[in-house]
Symmetry: C2
Subunit: 224 residues, 2 copies
C-alpha cells in the first residue's frame, strides 16, 4: 500500500522519474551501501554518511551515544535520510544532456532512540546482513556492554519517495546527427579479492560470501 | 595551506580519522561520482544527491533554476555538501567491530549563484570532465539558451574536512582467537561495456575514454 505522497517528497523536477511505491523505495534502501543523514544543529544543516539498515517499515542508523548525530536525533528533530546508487553515466551528444543514471530514495521524519534490547539486536543484525549476508551468524555476538555502548535510532518509513533515471541520452532533433559517439557507460560497485587480517588464526579460509560478495548481496536483494 | 579547522567540521568521533589538508579533501571531492547536498527549507532538512565538480577553491552544483534546491541555495542559506566513497567492508570477528572503509569529505558554507558566463561555462566543463575525462571537447557546446536555462551555484572550499577509515578490523584480546575468518573485502565502482544509443549514427565507435572509463578517470585523478 503506497504511503500518502506529501508535497515534501513529491518529485517535481522530472516528475516522470518519481516513484512512490514501497517496493521501489525499499529495494533502493536495501541495496545502497551507506545513507546520508541530514539534520540541523544550531541552524546549520549537517549531512553525515553512515551505515543504515531497513527492517520492515523502519530504517535504522547507529553509532556512539556521544556522537553529534545521535545526540541530535535523540532530541526528536526532523531528519532526512537519503541513499543514492549510481548506475551509469549518460554520454549525450550535447553538453547540455550529459547526465547520470541513478536510483535514489529519500525518507523524511523524526527518529526515536531504540530502547528495547530485542529491537536493538535485530537492527544490529540487519546492519551486518545488509552489507555481508551470512556474516551475522558467524561472528561473536554483541556483549551486554557492547549493546549498551551502541545507540540505535529508528526512522519510520512513512514519508518517502524514490527518483530513478535510466536509459539513454535525451538528445533530439538536429543534435542526433552531431558526429560523436553517444550512449551509456554502466557503473556498478564490485567487490575485490578478500584481504585477510594479518593476525588471522592460521587455517581459517574466507567464507563463500566473502569470496563472492557481489553474488551474496545480489541473492539477498532479489530474495527480499 | 590548511584552512582553519572550526568546531563544526572537526572530526570528534574517531579523531584519528580526521584530515584537514586540502589535498585530501580535494582528492575525495574529485573522485566521488555524486555529492549529497543538505539545506533547510521550512524547518525541514533535505539531502539531495546531485552532480558536483571542483574547480580550484570552489565546488559547483547545478540544475534547473526552478528546482527547490537551487531556489533555496540562491537565498544564501547555510548548506552542507558531503561526498562519500566506500572502499571496502571490514569483516571483524565480533559483531561490534563490523565496519566499512571509506573516505568522506564535508563542506559547510553559503553558496552563491554564478552570474559570470565564463565561470559558468568552466563549471559546466568541470561537471563533464570530472565524470568522463575527455568528453567535453567532443560534444556540442551549450547554446546561449541552454546556458541560460542552467543555474550553477558555487560553494567556497573554506570550512571543510575529510574523514578516512582504512585497514583491518579492530578486534583485540581474546576475540582474536574467535574461530571466524576476518579481513577486508575491497569495494570499488567499476565501469562496464559502453551501450550505444539506439539512434546512434552508423559508423561511430566508442571513444577510448568510454571503452575504459576506469582508466580514464584514474589517470585524471592522479594528475590533478
Amino acid at each position: 500500500m503506497p504511503n500518502p505522497v506529501t508535497d515534501r517528497v513529491r518529485v517535481r523536477r522530472h516528475p516522470e522519474r518519481g516513484a512512490y511505491d514501497r517496493a521501489t523505495v525499499d529495494s533502493i534502501l536495501d541495496e545502497a551501501l551507506v545513507c546520508h543523514l541530514g539534520f540541523v544543529h544550531d541552524g546549520q544543516p549537517y549531512v553525515i554518511p553512515t551505515l543504515h539498515a531497513r527492517v520492515g517499515d523502519t530504517v535504522y542508523v547507529h553509532g556512539s551515544a556521544a556522537s553529534r548525530m545521535l545526540r541530535t536525533l535523540a532530541a526528536g528533530v526532523p531528519v532526512c535520510l537519503t541513499v543514492t546508487i549510481v548506475d551509469g553515466l549518460v554520454l549525450a551528444r550535447t553538453a547540455y544532456n550529459q547526465s547520470a543514471n541513478y536510483r535514489s530514495a529519500i525518507v523524511l521524519g523524526t527518529a526515536r532512540l531504540v530502547d528495547d534490547p530485542d529491537e536493538k539486536l535485530r537492527a544490529l543484525e540487519a546492519f551486518t546482513e545488509q552489507l555481508v549476508p551470512g556474516r551475522w551468524a558467524e561472528v561473536r555476538p554483541p556483549s551486554a556492554s557492547e549493546l549498551k555502548a551502541t545507540t540505535v535510532a529508528a526512522l519510520p518509513l512513512e514519508e518517502c519517495s524514490a527518483k530513478v533515471r535510466s536509459g539513454q541520452p535525451g538528445d533530439s532533433g538536429g543534435d542526433l546527427d552531431y558526429p560523436v559517439w553517444a550512449g551509456v557507460v554502466p557503473l556498478a560497485v564490485r567487490a575485490g579479492k578478500p584481504v585477510p587480517a594479518p593476525d588471522l588464526t592460521a587455517g581459517l579460509e574466507p567464507p563463500a560470501y566473502a569470496l563472492d560478495l557481489d553474488a551474496a548481496r545480489a541473492a539477498r536483494h532479489s530474495a527480499s
